[in-house]
């Protein structure tokens, strides 16, 4: 890597998740091993085979002023809440509007708005639709609202790659800063997909856990008895900044956003490639991009969603691309799977782990499945070593998208 390349740092964090309404409460809950998964009591619950999900711990519509909340899809509400937290956490950076960007993604966009607007149109007519229906359902809506809120003019983008979307957004944001297009970029992922149709559709793909008698034990990555993922909702946002800009304003630096790797399996629309070829390629590229070796990586926040097919293959790919030595965890065991929001919150968690030198355990991991050689963190949290270390966040998505982000301790 070129020695004079722009270095990117993380200066702000924001999150609203199934276990907490902000970063502090979420991180505290993760370290305590708390599940955010609960039984649902909605009016459509009898028509789906899955009766639980990781509903957000704090309703974003209760946090935002009412006139603002009613114009936003829930995915936009989450994104705005987390972005405001991250921006404040970064010390509300002074930056020229044309040097400030936003890259915030979701996997599915404003699908609840799409479905409720369809009902309104069919039942009551076109002129009963809110004039904000389109900006509520468009998948670039979360990024656009944050851009408006902050006055960002350097480019507002929404990358879409299913469950890799949030991580891809952070990679794209890093690329913007490295390319000199922006000094500060607000980046991450959001999702609000707890709706009967989504659950029915994922259940039709045989991807979801149906452990209805014990929802909090349903998300159990790498456990022999795992039977699918658990849907979660929320958003995770980071403020990325060129190191020069951050140092000049005396900002607190959480970590370096040091490397990004993207690849595509070109194998199957939903199934991971069995040899892990694409995942290995993404991880290897990310290490090269960060100018580190596998030995520097001490922690992996895995994609591991608790599906029978994905979890073991991922850690086998980690073993090949990075090694068996990193402490590997899946925080999805507590938050559920936030789809396009996953890369956002899990990047926040990876950065917190580096900052506090502790890895939250994977809960519900009672019997480790066969074929796993990496050092899984379960039973109790584990400490990370002091010194110059790196950590990795993996996110993979339907479509064969693989994204790996590397963070290095500040």
């Amino acid at each position: 890597m070129s020695a004079n390349r722009v270095r990117v740092v993380v200066t702000g964090l924001g999150a609203t998740t199934p276990v907490g309404g902000d970063v502090t409460s979420t991180w505290t809950a993760l370290l305590a091993g708390q599940s955010g998964v609960n039984t649902l009591t909605t009016d459509w619950i009898d028509s789906v085979p899955v009766k639980f999900a990781g509903t957000a711990a704090v309703d974003p519509a209760e946090v935002l002023p009412r006139p603002e909340a009613r114009r936003l899809d829930r995915s936009e509400q989450f994104a705005l809440v987390a972005a405001r937290e991250a921006w404040k956490d970064a010390g509300t950076p002074e930056v020229a509007p044309e040097r400030l960007g936003v890259v915030v993604s979701s996997g599915i966009g404003g699908i609840s708005t799409t479905l409720s607007a369809y009902d309104t149109w069919k039942e009551r007519g076109w002129n009963r639709l809110s004039p904000f229906t389109v900006p509520m359902l468009m998948p670039n809506g979360p990024a656009a609202w944050i851009g408006l809120d902050l006055g960002a003019q350097a480019g507002v983008h929404a990358t879409v790659s299913a469950c890799a979307s949030g991580a891809e957004a952070i990679g794209y944001a890093m690329d913007m800063i490295r390319a000199g297009r922006a000094d500060v970029v607000v980046a991450g992922g959001t999702e609000a997909a707890i709706h009967g149709l989504n659950i029915a559709a994922f259940a039709a793909a045989r991807a979801m856990s149906q452990r209805n008698d014990d929802p909090q034990a349903a998300s159990r990555p790498w456990d022999r008895d795992r039977d699918g993922f658990v849907l979660g909702e929320g958003a995770g946002i980071v403020v990325l900044e060129s190191e020069e800009h951050a140092r000049a304003r005396g900002a607190r630096v959480y970590a370096y956003c040091a490397g990004i790797g993207y690849s595509a399996d070109a194998h199957h629309i939903t199934q991971p490639e069995p040899e892990g070829r694409g995942q290995i390629m993404a991880m290897t590229q990310a290490l090269t991009d960060a100018d580190i070796t596998g030995l520097d990586v001490k922690h992996v926040n895995a994609h591991a969603t608790s599906t029978p097919s994905g979890d073991v293959g991922e850690v086998q790919a980690v073993a090949k691309a990075i090694g068996t030595h990193p402490l590997v965890t899946s925080t999805k065991s507590m938050t559920g799977h936030l789809l396009g929001g996953a890369g956002g919150i899990e990047s926040v968690f990876t950065i917190k782990a580096l900052q506090e030198r502790i890895v939250p355990r994977t809960i519900n991991l009672d019997n480790i499945d066969d074929g796993i050689e990496v050092d899984l963190v379960y039973g109790e949290n584990r400490a990370l070593p002091e010194g110059d270390i790196a950590a990795v966040n993996n996110s993979f998505g339907f479509g064969g998208h693989n994204v790996t982000v590397v963070f290095k301790g500040a």
Partner: protein
Amino acid sequence: MAATEQDILEGLGKIINEITGIPASEVTPEKSFVDDLDIDSLSMVEIAVAAQDEFGVEIPDDQLKNLKTVKDVLTFIQN
């Protein structure tokens, strides 16, 4: 029994507060939506949609653009 002007004004004040955050007490007959209350055209559409549900009257687009003040809306709904 038909709603009185005061009932309609109160209902309209609640709708405008819900949509814009403007206190209902500021929604008085002489106020202009654009000049006094700073309500934009899309917010007016939202208010019209909600008012149609609340008061059971249709407000066509070509009429909506003529409703400049709170009093205009009160008169339209009453008639």
